[in-house]
C-alpha cells in the first residue's frame, strides 16, 4: 500500500481500522491494509485467435494504454488496475468458460471486452447471472434487447441498426432511389437490410432485389450479372469481414462500381488494410471511429497521440478505440463512485457524460447503449499520405437517441 493518499474516506477507514485494532488486535488492520493494496482486476475476454484476431489484438493494445494511463495517474485510492486478457477463440462456449473463470477464480471486479455478436451474448449471460458489470465493445443489436439485457450490461460499441441507418441517411438522398442488396444470409445481414430499409422509407427508396448469398462464400461472380442487369443506383453490401472483401473485389473486377454507387453499412479500418486500396476504392460506409477525426475532434487527437507514442507511430483502429473507451468508462465510473461494486459503478455510468476519443457520449438509461457519433467514410485509392491514410471522412452524424431503436421496441419499460 502507498502512504501518499489522503482521501477522507481512506482516513475514516484507517481511523476505523485503528479503533478496531485497539479492540481486536493486529490481524484486522493488516487485512484492511491488504484489501486496499489489492489491484482492481478487469477481465478482458476477446478473440485473440480466429477471424477477428487483428481487431482483437488492437483492442488489447488500446485497453492496455487506458490501464497504464490510469495507473500512472495514481490509480484509485492507490489501487492499481490489472488487465486480465483471455482468448475466447471467437467461440461462445469458450467465451462463457473464460468469463466464468475470470469471475470465480481470478475474482475480477468487472468485465470489459468481446468481439462478435455471439460471444458477447454468452459473456453477458454469465455476467448477468453473477451480477458482474460487463461493458461490451462489440457491435450488436441483440445485447440491448430486454431478454438479454441486465442492469449490469453496458454497450460501448455502436449497434448495427444505428450504423446502417446513418449510412442510409447519408447515402440514400445523394445517389438515387433504386437499391439492390447483396446480403450474407444470416442474422447480421438481415438486421442490416432491415436498418437500411427502415431509414430508406423516408426517402422513398425502392428495393429492386435483396439477393441472399451463403455466409462465407468465396465467389460472388454468379450474383453479379443479375445486379448488372437490374441497373440499380445503389448497391448495398450487407456482409462483413472476408465476405465483404471478396464481394467488393469481384464487384470491382466486373466494373459494377462504374455503374452504381457501392455502399457497406460497416467499413472497418482493419478490413480496408487487409483488403487493399483497389477492392475498396470508392466504397462508402459507416464506422465508430477513424483516426482522421483528429482534425476536428480534440479528444481523438489526444487519444491518437498517446497510441502513436505507445505503439511506434501506429494509429488505433475502430475496434481498438473501443477497447480504450470501454476501459476508460468503467475506470472513470470507479473513480467517481469511489467503489468497485457493480451496482455503484453502474449507477455512476448511467449518469456519466464522457469524451475519451470521439466527442461526447452517454449511456441511454433504458438499455445502457452508448449514444455516440457515427462516422461516414469513403475508401481512398489515390492521394494517400501514408499507409494509415485510407479513408476520407464525409460526414460525422451527431449522437442522437432518435437514431437507435426505441426502448419500447427493445422490450424495455422506459425508466
Amino acid at each position: 500500500m502507498s502512504d501518499s493518499t489522503t482521501s477522507p474516506l481512506r482516513r475514516r477507514l484507517l481511523a476505523g481500522g485503528a479503533a478496531g485494532a485497539a479492540i481486536a488486535g493486529a490481524p484486522f488492520v493488516s487485512r484492511l491494509a491488504y484489501a486496499q493494496s489489492l489491484p482492481i482486476k478487469i477481465g478482458f475476454p476477446t478473440p485473440l485467435t480466429g477471424a477477428f484476431s487483428a481487431e482483437a489484438q488492437d483492442q488489447v493494445r488500446a485497453a492496455e494504454l487506458a490501464v497504464k494511463e490510469f495507473n500512472a495517474a495514481g490509480g484509485f485510492n492507490g489501487r492499481k488496475v490489472e488487465l486480465l486478457v483471455r482468448d475466447d477463440k471467437l467461440n461462445p462456449g469458450e467465451a462463457a468458460t473464460r468469463t466464468l473463470e475470470l469471475i470465480e477464480k481470478d475474482k475480477v471486479d468487472l468485465i470489459v471486452g468481446s468481439l462478435s455478436a455471439a460471444t458477447q451474448l454468452s459473456i453477458n449471460a454469465i455476467c448477468k447471472s453473477r451480477k458482474t458489470l460487463f461493458n461490451s465493445i462489440s457491435q450488436s443489436d441483440a445485447i440491448n434487447e430486454a431478454k438479454d439485457w441486465s442492469f449490469y450490461t453496458f454497450h460501448e460499441a455502436l449497434t448495427p441498426h444505428a450504423t446502417a441507418g446513418a449510412v442510409a441517411r447519408y447515402a440514400f438522398p445523394k445517389f438515387g432511389k433504386k437499391v439492390v442488396y447483396l446480403t450474407a444470409d444470416y442474422a447480421y445481414g438481415h438486421e442490416m437490410v432491415r436498418g437500411f430499409q427502415r431509414a430508406g422509407q423516408a426517402f422513398g427508396m425502392q428495393t429492386l432485389a435483396d439477393i441472399r448469398h451463403p455466409l462465407g462464400a468465396a465467389d460472388y461472380s454468379a450474383f453479379l450479372p443479375r445486379i448488372q442487369a437490374l441497373k440499380p443506383d445503389i448497391l448495398v453490401l450487407c456482409n462483413f469481414g472476408r465476405d465483404l472483401l471478396n464481394s467488393a473485389k469481384q464487384i470491382t473486377d466486373f466494373g459494377l462500381k462504374k455503374q452504381m454507387k457501392v455502399i457497406a453499412p460497416v467499413l472497418l479500418y482493419t478490413a480496408r488494410q487487409a483488403g487493399g486500396a483497389e477492392a475498396f476504392d470508392g466504397i462508402l460506409g459507416g464506422t465508430g471511429y477513424y483516426w482522421g477525426m483528429e482534425d476536428t475532434i480534440p479528444s481523438a487527437k489526444k487519444f491518437n497521440d498517446k497510441f502513436r507514442k505507445a505503439y511506434g507511430g501506429a494509429v488505433p483502429s475502430d475496434y481498438g478505440a473501443l477497447g480504450y473507451a470501454g476501459i476508460r468508462s468503467v475506470l472513470q465510473a470507479i473513480q467517481e463512485a469511489r467503489s468497485t461494486t457493480a451496482t455503484a459503478v453502474a449507477n455512476v455510468m448511467r449518469k456519466m457524460r464522457y469524451d475519451f476519443y470521439k466527442g461526447t457520449q452517454f449511456y441511454r438509461l433504458c438499455d445502457h447503449q452508448s449514444v455516440q457519433s457515427i462516422i461516414i467514410v469513403e475508401s481512398k485509392s489515390t492521394g494517400m499520405k501514408d499507409k494509415y491514410d485510407v479513408f476520407k471522412i464525409l460526414s460525422i452524424e451527431a449522437p442522437s437517441e432518435s437514431n437507435l431503436r426505441t426502448c419500447d421496441e427493445l422490450g424495455h419499460k422506459v425508466i
Partner: protein, 294 residues
C-alpha cells in the same frame, strides 16, 4: 422473375464457365493423383492455398504475373515431390485410409505454416494490370481476367492431355495406371512415375491457386471450401477420370451460377444436390470406370 433476359442467361453461363474453369483444374490434379496412385489427396485444397500465397509472393518479388505463373507451379510441385517422396511413399500398400489421414494432417500443417509465414489476415491481391478491366461480349460486359481464366485452363488441360496422350512418358503413366505390376516387370521405375504424377498434380493445384488469387481473398483457410468443391467435381466426373474432371468442373460451375440467378439461397446447396443425383443415377460418376483417359 420477369427481368431475366436471354442476354442475362448467356452472361450467367459465361460466369459459370469461368468458375468451372478453376473447379476443373483443381479436379484434374486431384483425379490424376487418385487415378494413378489411388491416393485420396486431402491436402489438395492446402496446395491450392499455398499456390495462392506463393503466387502473390512471387508476383511481389518479380513484379510480373507471368513469371509468377511459371515459378508458382514449380515451387508448389517441388513441395509436392518432397511430400510424396518422404511422407506418402512409405504408406503405399497399406490401404487407402493411410495416405488419406496423412494428407489430411498435412493440410493442417500447411495451413498453420502459411499463418506463421504470412499472418492470420492473409495478403491483399489484385488483378494483374494487363488483364484489368472488362470486355464487352455483346451480351454485357465481362471481366477480362475471367475470360483469361477460361483460356488459361483450356491451355493447361490441353497441354496435360498432349503430355499424357502423345508422349512416351505419358504412355508409361497410362500403362502404370492400368497395371503397375506389368509396367514394373517391363523395367520401368514405377516409383519415379508416381513421384512425378504427384508432383504434376500438386503443381496444377498450386497453379489454380495462383489463378484464383486475384479474384478472391488470399488467406490460410481459403483451401478448405475448395477441397470440398473439388471432391464434388471429382465424384460427379468419376474418380480418376480426366475428361470427367473437366466436364464435371464446368458443369458444376454452370449449375452453381444458374442457381445463383434463380434461387441464390440454394446456390451452395445446388452442387451437392447435383452430386447426389449423379450418384443415384450413375454411381461411378459421369466418366467413371473408363480408365484414366476415358
Amino acid at each position: 422473375m420477369a427481368e431475366i433476359s436471354f442476354q442475362l442467361l448467356l452472361l450467367q453461363l459465361m460466369t459459370g464457365l469461368a468458375l468451372g474453369a478453376i473447379y476443373a483444374l483443381l479436379a484434374v490434379g486431384l483425379s490424376l493423383i487418385f487415378g494413378m496412385l489411388t491416393v485420396v489427396n486431402f491436402a489438395h485444397g492446402a496446395f491450392f492455398m499455398v499456390g495462392a500465397f506463393l503466387g502473390v509472393y512471387f508476383l511481389g518479388l518479380t513484379g510480373s504475373f507471368w513469371f509468377s505463373l511459371v515459378l508458382t507451379p514449380l515451387a508448389v510441385g517441388a513441395i509436392g515431390l518432397l511430400c510424396e517422396r518422404f511422407l506418402v511413399r512409405p504408406l503405399y500398400g497399406r490401404g487407402i485410409d493411410y495416405p488419406l489421414l496423412l494428407t489430411f494432417g498435412l493440410s493442417y500443417v500447411m495451413i498453420e505454416s502459411m499463418r506463421v509465414l504470412f499472418g492470420l489476415e492473409g495478403v491483399p491481391t489484385s488483378v494483374p494490370a494487363e488483364l484489368k478491366g472488362v470486355v464487352d461480349l455483346g451480351i454485357g460486359s465481362f471481366p477480362t481476367y475471367r475470360l483469361f481464366l477460361i483460356v488459361a485452363t483450356a491451355v493447361i488441360i490441353g497441354a496435360l492431355w498432349l503430355f499424357i496422350e502423345k508422349t512416351r512418358y505419358g504412355l508409361i503413366i497410362r500403362a502404370g495406371s492400368r497395371d503397375p505390376e506389368i509396367v514394373r516387370i517391363l523395367g520401368v521405375d514405377i516409383a519415379r512415375v508416381w513421384l512425378i504424377v504427384f508432383g504434376i498434380g500438386t503443381a496444377i493445384a498450386g497453379l489454380s491457386g495462383l489463378l484464383a488469387a486475384p479474384t478472391r481473398a488470399v488467406n490460410a483457410e481459403m483451401g478448405i471450401p475448395v477441397l470440398a468443391e473439388s471432391f464434388v467435381v471429382t465424384v460427379v466426373g468419376g474418380m480418376g477420370s480426366l475428361p470427367g474432371a473437366v466436364v464435371a468442373g464446368l458443369l458444376v460451375g454452370v449449375v452453381f451460377s444458374m442457381t445463383s440467378l434463380f434461387a441464390p439461397e440454394y446456390a451452395e446447396l445446388s452442387i451437392f444436390v447435383l452430386m447426389a443425383v449423379v450418384l443415384l443415377v450413375r454411381p461411378q460418376g459421369l466418366f467413371g470406370k473408363a480408365g484414366l483417359m476415358g
